[in-house]
């Protein structure tokens, strides 16, 4: 691990463990925006960690920022830190200075309408399931018309909001724009084919999942040593030990898989394909997430099924994140198609050439 990674890991572990607890998580599920938490996170420079230095950021690489995203998943951080980080980085990467504030994104559905008139653009349409749309200052969204595909940065406050949630109570709102003027327009028609924002959104969710899976593992280890049945800690039962061994292996796999994609995101420039590595991460972390949630609940017994106990804050997030920005089958099909088309005898050479 690099020194930056170590520092970020320690900082985030400490910061998030101080900021987040069950009460915070419960309140934010009731759609209370936890402003003090957001302020602290912003003050610590996390939202601008990946932004280029000439835009006022720290220019830290994906493989190091892995730590921020991982620990935010580990602690179920209930604000759009990850969305803001990724959007700001994406803007910066395309030579646009990102604004301060909460930036969310839209990249997995029918793009907004791009209306061109008198050399200026207007944006209309509805986008759905936007993370913290109602609390965001800006939204980075895909928009298109018959001859152009662009990303636009919009003032989120200029939209009509209908609130909704995912199953973990994270806000996923719909936003309607009516001839809104974009603050920024990035014309990257080519990038729609390869590394669209979707690829990075999927990468971020994979890393968050790997953090959440590790949190379940740690919870299970401590709970199984405390909880006694038949006169001994349940950790002494071989059946429990083996379930946790499986969970530990899955946690390690999810973590490495998402690191693979982060490393690739640093090496590969935005115009060439990153989807192979991101697909690996999303598939592997998604599978592990499902298993980790099941094992986590099994090992905890009834207490884990209560609202009171904290386990569900992680497991419900894992189930949500797993299907956001492409499920396992979506990504598996994308790379499976390529593997088959590439030819059976070339797979090994392709794998070793990429990584």
């Amino acid at each position: 691990m690099t020194e930056i990674s170590k520092t970020l890991a320690e900082t985030c572990d400490r910061l998030f463990s101080n900021l987040i607890n069950n009460d915070v998580l419960r309140e934010t599920e009731l759609a209370v925006w936890p402003d003090p938490i957001w302020q602290q996170i912003e003050e610590n420079g996390l939202t601008f960690a990946m932004v280029n230095e000439n835009h006022g950021g720290s220019g830290i690489k994906w493989i190091d920022c892995f730590q921020i995203i991982y620990w935010s998943g580990y602690y179920s951080v209930p604000v759009p830190l990850v969305e803001t980080m990724v959007s700001s980085w994406f803007l910066s990467q395309h030579n646009q200075a990102p604004p301060k504030g909460v930036i969310t994104f839209f990249c997995d559905g029918k793009p907004l309408d791009l209306i061109e008139s008198n050399n200026s653009y207007k944006i209309s349409g509805i986008i759905e399931r936007i993370p913290w749309g109602a609390s965001a200052d800006y939204v980075l969204a895909e928009a298109y018309n018959s001859n152009k595909q662009v990303y636009v940065l919009l003032d989120a406050k200029k939209s009509k909001i209908v609130k909704d949630k995912n199953i973990s109570g994270e806000s996923r709102d719909s936003m309607t724009f009516d001839k809104a003027s974009p603050l920024t327009v990035i014309d990257i028609s080519d990038a729609f084919r390869s590394n669209s924002l979707l690829v990075y959104a999927a990468l971020a969710r994979s890393v968050q999942m790997s953090g959440g899976i590790s949190a379940i593992l740690d919870n299970c280890i401590s709970y199984s040593r405390e909880r006694e049945q038949f006169g001994q800690p349940i950790a002494k039962f071989q059946a429990i030990q083996h379930q946790l061994a499986i969970l530990a292996a899955e946690a390690a796999a999810a973590k490495i898989a998402s690191q693979i994609a982060c490393r690739a995101a640093d090496l590969i420039d935005v115009s060439s394909g990153l989807e192979f590595e991101v697909a690996t991460a999303k598939i592997r972390a998604g599978e592990s997430a499902g298993l980790a949630a099941s094992i986590g609940h099994q090992v905890h017994g009834a207490i884990g099924f209560t609202d009171e106990y904290s386990l569900h804050y992680i497991t419900r997030r894992l189930w949500s994140w797993r299907s956001e920005y492409g499920s396992e089958s979506y990504w598996a099909r994308r790379i499976g198609k390529e593997v088959i088309a590439g030819g059976a005898d070339n797979l090994w050479a392709d794998i070793t050439a990429r990584l």
């Binding site: 593992l217 530990a248 693979i260 490393r263 030819g343």
Partner: protein, 381 residues
């Protein structure tokens, strides 16, 4: 708290050249090696091929001179992953190169190293593992084969079983009891190098369920082993065996054993558009890529001299599950029967891997034993 740590490692620069060398060597020497044969990979014994690898300097590469060429563990990794991905017949030298040699380098005497390492590195002398016995499988510490002091050596009596390729190897490194009794468990065990041509040894191949003769029963009837063939310290056998198993558990052989079936499976969908196949093959690819990076990460840790025992165990557990998933997915996707004698390349590969893969979660420690090792690492035991 983080249970254990595996972080991504980068391959050293220049390995591409080595990789290309191995590929062209394989193409030249084994260009016409059939696809079903490749599915047997590290179960296929070919002394001649091992000798050629030795000539190229690709056996014992990480060992110090004069035995090896002090190359890095990651360079060796490149060579062996290429051999396995190709499906080259590597069984003859596999055990000696992977674990007996490193064991001797770590614990063996100068004399033993001088006498034995050149043979392993040149691909001419082959080793097998004498651990399991009829009544001691997972519970290895309960072994019965014993060696009694006799002037300047030991007299061995007892029986080993499941010894892979004992009938074709030159030496066995045997775990035997040199003092105390079975009740003493881990104490009083030692490792002896036994020349399998010595008098008093009877080796009988045991046909496995696929019809192959790979593992054996090996009986010792007053076999004399000189003191110079004791590995490391008398009584330290258990610790040495544990160290040896770490070499065994994390390499690419731990997830590439069924790779050739995956290749044949992909080939079956050439020029088709099949949604189910695309999803299933994409998923397998994600597993493969992840396991490879985990295994490389362990190789990088081994290189620093640390012993990532738990991490290595995790890889074997996940790797075996992946290997055993491949024939399952094959059955999901394709409606043909495995056929080992008259089948197509795919049918033959499926036939072999389908049967062989049940042994992957037994040899080198069963899945249950591995999970208990991991659980201990997690602090649950």
């Amino acid at each position: 708290m983080q249970a254990f740590n595996l972080d991504l490692c980068d391959l050293p620069p220049g390995v591409d050249v080595l990789r290309e060398e191995v590929r062209s060597f394989l193409f030249e020497t084994l260009g016409s090696y059939s696809k079903p044969n490749r599915a047997r990979s590290w179960s296929a014994f070919d002394a001649d091929f091992s000798g050629r690898l030795g000539d190229r300097g690709w056996l014992g590469m990480t060992w110090p001179e004069p035995y090896g060429s002090s190359r890095s563990a990651l360079e060796r990794y490149i060579v062996i992953e290429e051999l396995l991905a190709f499906g080259a017949p590597v069984a003859a030298h596999w055990i000696g190169e992977r674990q007996s040699g490193p064991l001797l380098l770590r614990f063996g005497s100068d004399k033993q190293q001088e006498k034995l390492l050149p043979g392993i590195a040149s691909g001419k002398s082959f080793f097998c593992i004498g651990m399991s016995e009829p009544n001691s499988g997972s519970d290895l510490a309960s072994i019965n084969t014993h060696a009694k002091r006799d002037n300047d050596g030991w007299v061995v009596n007892g029986q080993k079983i499941w010894t892979t390729y004992a009938q074709k190897c030159h030496y066995m490194i045997a775990l035997v009891r040199t003092s105390g009794s079975v009740k003493d468990r881990h104490d009083g065990l030692s490792q002896l190098i036994i020349n399998l041509r010595d008098p008093g040894i009877t080796i009988s191949p045991i046909r496995n369920m696929i019809g192959d003769k790979e593992f054996n029963e090996v009986k010792f009837d007053n076999v004399f082993v000189s003191d110079s063939m004791l590995v490391g310290e008398e009584g330290n056998g258990w610790q040495q065996v544990i160290a040896e198993l770490a070499f065994e558990r994390s390499g690419p052989d731990r997830f590439l054993s069924a790779y050739r079936l995956m290749v044949e499976l992909i080939r079956m969908f050439h020029k088709t558009e099949d949604k189910h196949a695309e999803v299933a093959i994409g998923r397998l690819t994600a597993h493969l890529v992840t396991l490879r990076q985990m295994s490389l990460a362990v190789a990088a840790v081994l290189e620093t001299g640390e012993q990532p025992t738990i991490e290595a165990t995790v890889i074997k557990d996940l790797g075996v599950a992946f290997e055993q998933l491949i024939p399952e997915i094959a059955h999901d996707l394709i409606n043909v029967a495995p056929n080992i004698l008259h089948g197509s390349d795919y049918e033959k590969s499926l036939a072999y891997i389908q049967q062989a893969c049940v042994s992957f979660s037994l040899r080198g420690g069963t899945t249950e034993i591995l999970r208990s090792v991991i659980a201990r690492g997690l602090g649950l035991r």
